[in-house]
Chain length 110, copies 2
DNA sequence: TATGATATATCGACCATCTACTTATGTCAA
DNA sequence: TTGACATAAGTAGATGGTCGATATATCATA
């Protein structure tokens, strides 16, 4: 593949960054919003999301801050950094390239 | 994910089945045609393709026959079975569902 | 003569996801 | 009040797909 090899399996990273574009969110909230915005198509598992959030934080794309709601566990909100915003734009481009190529093949392109 | 978990990493299977829809082809030929039809976006590696072809054959989606060209290695042509044709239709549906959901999220859908 | 194209194939490494499990609290119904 | 479910974050191990490297073999071209 010319495009980044983790593009296919890695579209979850794009989705998470995209969710944070419209405001800080915590993990559990992202799972719900993603399910809603995708009409139940994407059911992100916690075992997938939390390790992903940690790796995105390590790369400097997102930053965490905690809110102690008093109940249960404190919420860990994530904020999209400038670097994360650039990464988001890049990944979005990449995905559109991928989807475009898929469509050309599926439409029986030349 | 509600959709098959191997959908993302597994869109190569869909691509290969799609290529065989328009006629029997051999591995090396698929790599070339895929590159051409996707405008160089998809560069399928032989280490990915051949094991994939074998697994598709085991599942009964494709059947192989050899053509001894006399030169070098004989070509192993693959033929799409009826079962493979059904699988192709299913995978194509699945992909469009996935792509549609991605677009809804990327367009900032409700 | 050696490089690159043609052609198929395997192996080990890597990486992302999934399932299952853990911890902890609040709420609602039987 | 017991059990189930929602909220909330997290880890560990298994699985599965892709890639790079390597192997083999022939032919054409520089």
């Amino acid at each position: 593949m010319t495009i980044d090899k983790s593009l296919l399996a890695g579209s979850t990273a794009l989705l998470v960054l995209k969710l944070l574009e419209s405001g800080d969110k915590y993990g559990y909230q992202m799972v719900e919003e993603l399910r809603r915005r995708s009409d139940q198509t994407f059911e992100l598992k916690s075992g997938t999301l939390y390790p992903l959030l940690h790796s995105l934080e390590q790369k400097g794309y997102i930053e965490a801050w905690e809110e102690d709601v008093g109940t249960a566990r404190p919420r860990r909100y994530y904020h999209l950094t400038d670097s994360g915003r650039r990464q988001l734009a890049e990944k979005e481009d990449e995905w559109r390239t991928y989807a475009g190529a898929m469509l050309r093949v599926l439409e029986g392109g030349a």
